[in-house]
């Protein structure tokens, strides 16, 4: 199954990467990430006075020799984290060459694989359905052996979601296990900011990968047939219509609008400690993973 998405060599390259978190996050089971909890690792964290019921084996006898009081040695706990992969499945994602949804699935698969290799838990939610049904929600998976299940789930995603922004808000309110949230969407709706704010407020570490197709990024040059003349543009997601006269001035205004929009989003995310990464599907996935995401501090 994974061969249809990535080849072996690519997977091997992915295994060198890991998802970064800005702060220590509490996990559920033992893993490889430092946890705010005290636990059983070999890394010393602190002392605390002995209390009744504590394990005698954890008393620091050297301290007792000097102070004649019992102290328990505390060690840093190493746990896993839960990586939340959120995929926009609205119909606007089924667009472009390369297709945005396909690109998003491959990107999510790669990030999920990286997380699983790092002994983190990965959960995938298909935004646009607000449902816990199995085809729209993948419960947390852990361990490399679960990768096939992840890939299978991702490949079954269909571009039929509606109101993904509202779904994001609902997810942000309800989601447990704060950890990195990677949202892959074209953000071609209103209301995304509420969900992102909610995620950041609840202790998640959101990363927004803003995915656009080449013709959305530069309609003047990548639209076939060329966008020149009088058009009635029809939204394939909402069937809304916009009438434009595509001349140089209009296309220039579109480009300015896009730049401003991305700038606004970047500023908004920056203010909330979220990563914002605009991406175009014409960029090779390897470049995005090994260069773009690493440069942003999302991967290492």
């Amino acid at each position: 199954m994974e061969n249809t998405i990535f080849d072996e060599k690519f997977l091997q390259n992915l295994e060198r990467l890991a998802i970064l978190t800005r702060r220590t996050l509490a996990g559920q089971t033992q893993g490889e990430r430092r946890s705010p909890k005290r636990g059983q690792s070999v890394e010393f964290a602190d002392y605390r006075p002995y209390a009744s019921g504590d394990d005698f084996r954890r008393i620091d006898w050297n301290a007792y020799a000097r102070l004649e009081r019992f102290f328990i040695k505390l060690f840093i706990e190493e746990e896993d984290i839960t990586v939340h992969l959120l995929l926009d499945s609205s119909r606007s994602m089924d667009w472009g060459e390369p297709n945005k949804l396909d690109y998003a699935i491959r990107l999510a698969a790669a990030l999920g694989y990286i997380s699983m290799v790092g002994l983190d838990r990965v959960t995938v939610t298909v935004l646009g359905h607000n449902s816990r049904r199995a085809e729209y929600y993948l419960p947390p998976l852990r361990g490399k052996q679960q990768v096939f299940q992840l890939f299978t789930f991702l490949q079954s995603i269909q571009p039929d979601g509606k109101n993904p922004a509202e779904h994001l808000l609902a997810y942000a309110i309800k989601a447990a296990s704060p950890g990195p949230v990677i949202l892959i969407s074209d953000l071609m709706n209103e209301g995304w900011k509420n969900g992102i704010s909610q995620l950041a407020m609840r202790g998640f570490e959101p990363t927004i990968i803003h995915l656009l197709s080449p013709d959305e990024f530069d309609p003047a040059h990548f639209t076939e047939p060329p966008l020149a003349g009088d058009f009635r543009l029809m939204d394939q997601e909402t069937d809304q219509e916009v009438e434009i006269t595509a001349d140089f001035e209009t296309l220039d205004a579109y480009h300015q609008q896009l730049t401003e929009w991305q700038g606004t989003l970047q500023k908004f995310c920056g203010q909330r400690g979220a990563h914002y990464l605009p991406a175009v599907t014409s960029t090779p996935l390897e470049t995005l993973l090994f260069s773009g995401l690493r440069r942003q501090g999302i991967l290492r």
């Binding site: 071609m188 959305e216 058009f231 543009l233 394939q236 809304q240 916009v242 140089f248 220039d252």
Partner: protein, 640 residues
Amino acid sequence: MNFLTPAAFGLGILLPLIVVLYLLKLRRVERRVSSTYLWRRMVRDLEANAPWQRLRRNLLLFIQLLFLSALILALARPYIWSEDFSGLSAILIVDTSASMAATDVAPNRLENAKQQIYQLVNSLAQDVPITLISAGIQARVQVASSLDRRHISQTIQNLQVEMGPSDIETALQLASAIAARQPQTVIDIYTDGGASLPSNLTVNGQLQIISIGSNGDNQAITRLLLEPSPGGEDTTAFIQVVNYSDVEVLRRLKVTVDGAPFHVIDISLAGREELSLLVEAIPINSEFVEAQLFPSTTTEDYLSIDDLAFSVNRQQEPLQVNLVSSGNRFLETALSLLPWVQLTRTDPGSSGTLLESDITVIDTALPLTTTFPAGNLFFISPVNSTEFFSVTGVLEHPIPVPATDNLDLLEFISLADVNILDGIEIPLPDYAEPIIISAGEGTQKGHPLLFVGESGGRRLVVQSFSLQHSDLPLQVAFPLLIANLIQWLAPEHLYSIPSQSVPGSAVAIILPLSITNPGAGQVVTVTRPDGQKIEQQAREGRVIYSDTSQIGVYTVETNGSPAQKFAVNLFSGQESEIKPSSLVTAAPVESQGINGSAQNNRQEWWRIFAFLALALLVLEWFVFHRSSLVYIASRISKSR
């Protein structure tokens, strides 16, 4: 405003059509996109500038409506009637006489007339044929009924002032002949007046006279003559200066002899005064005299070409007359009294061959075998027949009477008291013209007693009665008759070139060759005042030189003969009187008005509307592509 093709207004139906097109929604191409989210945002921004967007659309509509309106107006060919010109064809007569060089209107009258004609030509409709006639020394049709405005303008540009009078009459006759073939012709005459028209001139077409010039202040030299002084030692110049203005002026007259200053006179001329001056003691051997008036700084002299005059000094060569006579006191005395005659007498028995001279007077009987010398011959009572006439008998008591009235040779001569004893009967040869004939009865009636003629390239005078057998030598008429006959016989080289001529007139140059050698094939070189040499082939011993357009001294040269000079001067009171006046007619010129009432000129305006339409089209293009142009400009600036 009227319209030549009002049917073009039918295109006005396109005007509401444009508005309807704007009112109808544009037929847009449907295109599916992933999302219209960004486009909607952008359109919201554009709608923020909606007033301008609407204005831009309305501006385009406005410009397009204006463009179509201008185009329809141009196609409808609007025109207005102006009072400047009437008729369907125009004949423009331009006075190019010397007075048109006056500078009272800048730069001069002819240039001023040209400018007015340019304006008229440019204002006329394209389908109005224009004929341009210059009325200089000769009237010439410069452009005949042409629609080619460029050619007409070029021809107007090339018009030059001619140093002579204007032949307005011929120009009008030409114009009238042309107008007869064209309906509704207007004839415009651009002139400063000074020309006269015949009294009974009938002109086809409507005649308009445009007066050129504003001021008549001018002084001119109207005469310059050279005469030998009574003693014959030197020459006296007679100069006449006229003030054509109404105020007194001060002028300086400078006289130059052979190019060297000779005399300077300051003169004061009252208004309209004619002043005659004598300049004496000019060397007898001088070739030419030049007189020039210099204007003062106080008063104007608007015409300068008449301030200059020339005169050549002709030294008369003596006339060689050989009298072959055994003795005739009356005849010898009469001939010797002639001042320009150098008389020699030959005894008929002295030698067999007669001397060659200008005139040979044969007053004796010569042998039949005699060879006559070159030159003209004057036979008096010949006894024998010659190659020129035959002697057939004797006339008894002929009564001399003039052959016809008004004979030049018998001017001031009365034959009433002349008696003749007898004479020789000589039938009148074919070439001859009788001067005195016999008025006797019977067979003697009508026989010539004196006849003249030209035969064999020479002039002949034959008097058929002897002076000894008549009382003519005792009459007052005798020296006059001899003087007239000798003058008629004198070889023409003495008077071959007139010493003075007027601009534009032809000068007959008769070659100074012997009569028996007519000089065929000789080349005559005329050097004009500007130094240009013109060569002309002589025909039958004479050349007609006509290029006398310049004022000054002309030099005539032929191979092997001394150069002769002649002067060309304006000397035209009509041209020097530059005060603008209407054309002088003894009676009003009859001109045929068009349809009996004045009509106006049709001035078309379609060019203005066509140009306006073109300008609007360009403006519409710029407005329509304004955004693209701004975008391209910004891209270029960014790339820099």
